[in-house]
Structure formats: C-alpha cells, structure tokens
C-alpha cells in the first residue's frame, strides 16, 4: 500500500512537471530548450510510475491456490 502511494506521488509530481514545463514554455515564462529537457527527464518517470501505481495491488494478496 505504501509503495502504491509513493508511485502515485512520483507519477503526480512528474506529470505536473511535464504539463507545467509545456505551459510555461508556451506562455514564454520558460525557455523552450529548458522545458524540453524537463519533459525528457520527467516523462519517462511519469510513464513508469503511473504503470507502477495502477499495477500495484490494493491490499493483502490472495492466498495462492496450492492444490487439493
């Protein structure tokens, strides 16, 4: 559960960095090259953290089937 929470936090932060960099570059508050570097660094982290978040289990795992 703790890992799921940290994956969500990382995904949110990196996602915000990507979107904020694009917006600030579009309105001229950030140099385009700097925004591109931020996105290049944050986007891979966002993809992996997002996948880690939604693939992580919600709670205690089931007892595995061990045969009759």
């Amino acid at each position: 559960m703790k890992r799921k929470q940290s994956a969500l936090t990382i995904a949110t932060v990196s996602g915000i960095v990507c979107v904020a960099a694009a917006i600030f570059a579009a309105i001229g508050y950030l140099a385009v090259w700097l925004a591109e570097i931020l996105i290049v660094l944050a986007f891979p982290v966002f993809v992996i953290a997002l996948a880690l978040w939604w693939s992580a289990s919600e709670g205690v795992a089931d007892i595995p089937f061990i045969g009759y």
């Binding site: 579009a26 385009v32 090259w33 891979p44």
Partner: protein, 281 residues
C-alpha cells in the same frame, strides 16, 4: 510540446499495429486489429511486475527510462530543426539501450540478444553514410537548413537517392519482424527484451513507438522537406507500409548476413560519395 509527445506515442503505437496488420495480410492471415499495440502496451502496464533475481536492478530499470527519454529528446530535436548529428548520437545511445536490456537481466537469452546487438553495430553505418551524403549536398547538418535547401532545390530524395536508401535500411533494421531484427529473433525467445515484462515492457513499447515515429518523420523531413502534418503522416504511413511488405516477404537473415548487407550498402554509398566529391568535383 507534451501534447505532441503523447500524439507521437499514440501514432507510433498505431503504426506498430498497422505494421503487424500489413504483414499478416500479405502472408494471408487476418492479423490483429491495428490498435492492438496500444492495447498491448496498456495490458503490459497492468500486469504484475518484478525484477528478476539475477538482474542488475539499477540497469534493468534505467534502460527503460533511458529508452523513453532519448527518443523523446529525438522528437524535440526534429521539432526544433536541430542537428541530424544529434539524431545520430541518439541512435547510438539506443544501441546502449539494446546492450543494456540484454545484459542487465542475467538471462542467457537476453545476453544472446545483447551480443547480437554488438554484431549488428553495422546497422549504424548506413546512417553515418546518410549524414555524410546529406552534408555533401547541403553543407549543413541542421534540419532547418536541410529543409530550407529542399525548398529551393527540391527534395533530397532525388538528388541524394542513395542516402535515402541507406536511411530506409536504417529504419527497416529497427522495425519489429524485420529481416535485420536479429536481436529479438524468436530462436532466442524475445532476445534482449526477454526478461523485460509487465510495466518494463510497457515502458519499452512507449519508447519504441516514439522511436518509430521519429525515424519515419526524420526520413520525411530530410528527404522530402517540411509538409503539413496530415500530409507528413500520410507519407510516413506509405513508407511504413512499404517496409511492412519487405518484412512480410523476407525471412530473418542470419546475424552475419545482416552485417554483410548493411556493410555493402554503406560501402556502395561511400563509393558514391567519393565519385561525387572527388572524381566529379
């Protein structure tokens, strides 16, 4: 910016699906729906995931992040009209990703894939020849200059046709099911990607989709010039379909044959450059 990256990702995945569909139709099979690779990537991202005990944990994860990062950077280089030498550099970094994927897992199949990746270093040679021949004509390696040159002199596809063939070969070498795709051949399971399953494979699919988009778009920009987005996409699709035909009718070459073919093409272009630049100049 980020919106274009996500657009490129989905178009790249769609292109992978179309690639599979065309191969299947040529081979007389129905094939999967064209959006199959988008579903595949989502499916992988929902799967339970872990890192194999034999793997180098840092490298195992880092190569996936690097794969996505470098091709995102390559897309921005294209969009900003940057240097094709940087694109060449990213292509070389992709080679490190290929090595890293295979070597990080500790799996013998992965290691075989990584070793084949070393053997197939010849796939970089045609790109090198392309860069050389483009410079010969345009006297610049900046994409913006190359596009401006084509607006005045017409598409480089005609003037530098051998370079276009070399780059076409480069794109073919990096496609799934290509006659040159020896690093992920089925006799070594999935080659260097064998142990990267679940979200790691989803991450790789994301990186590779952006890679396919970037390479096809680079081909259009370098050899045809700047086009409206829809026309560029259509042209990219046509190039992809022609590549899919080749993949559908060509068996996978042996590792040493791939090196021979790629080296021969590079050698032919080197001779062409020498004839143009030294003998005819």
């Amino acid at each position: 910016m980020i919106e274009y990256l996500i657009f490129a990702l989905f178009i790249g995945l769609l292109f992978h699906g179309i690639h599979r569909k065309v191969i299947a139709r040529v081979q007389g099979r129905p094939g999967p729906p064209i959006w199959q690779e988008i579903l595949h990537t989502l499916k992988f991202s929902f799967k339970e995931t872990w890192i194999p005990k034999t793997a180098s944990q840092t490298l195992f994860v880092a190569v996936v992040l690097v794969a996505i990062g470098i091709w995102s950077a390559a897309l921005f280089i294209l969009l900003s009209g940057g240097s094709i030498l940087l694109l060449f550099g990213i292509y070389l970094l992709h080679k490190i990703v290929e090595h890293g994927l295979g070597l990080s897992s500790g799996s013998p199949y992965g290691k075989f894939g990584a070793i084949r990746s070393v053997i197939s270093a010849a796939s970089e040679l045609p790109l090198f020849a392309t860069v050389g021949l483009i410079y010969f004509f345009t006297h610049s390696l900046m994409l913006s200059d190359i596009i401006a040159y084509q607006q005045v002199h017409g598409p480089l596809l005609i003037a530098a046709f051998p370079a276009a063939i070399a780059m076409y070969l480069v794109i073919l070498s990096k496609l799934h099911y290509s006659p040159f795709a020896i690093i992920e051949a089925k006799e070594i399971v999935s080659g260097n990607m064998t142990e990267h399953f679940g979200i790691w494979r989803a991450g790789l699919e994301v990186g590779y989709a952006i890679k396919t988009y970037v390479l096809l778009y680079a081909f259009v920009l370098i050899f045809i010039g700047q086009l409206p987005l829809l026309a560029a996409l259509l042209l990219m699709l046509l190039i992809l379909v022609s590549l899919s035909f080749i993949c559908a009718v060509s068996p996978m070459l042996s590792p040493y044959d791939t090196v021979t073919v790629q080296s021969l093409v590079t050698g032919a272009i080197a001779v062409y450059i020498i004839v143009l630049g030294v003998i005819l100049a």
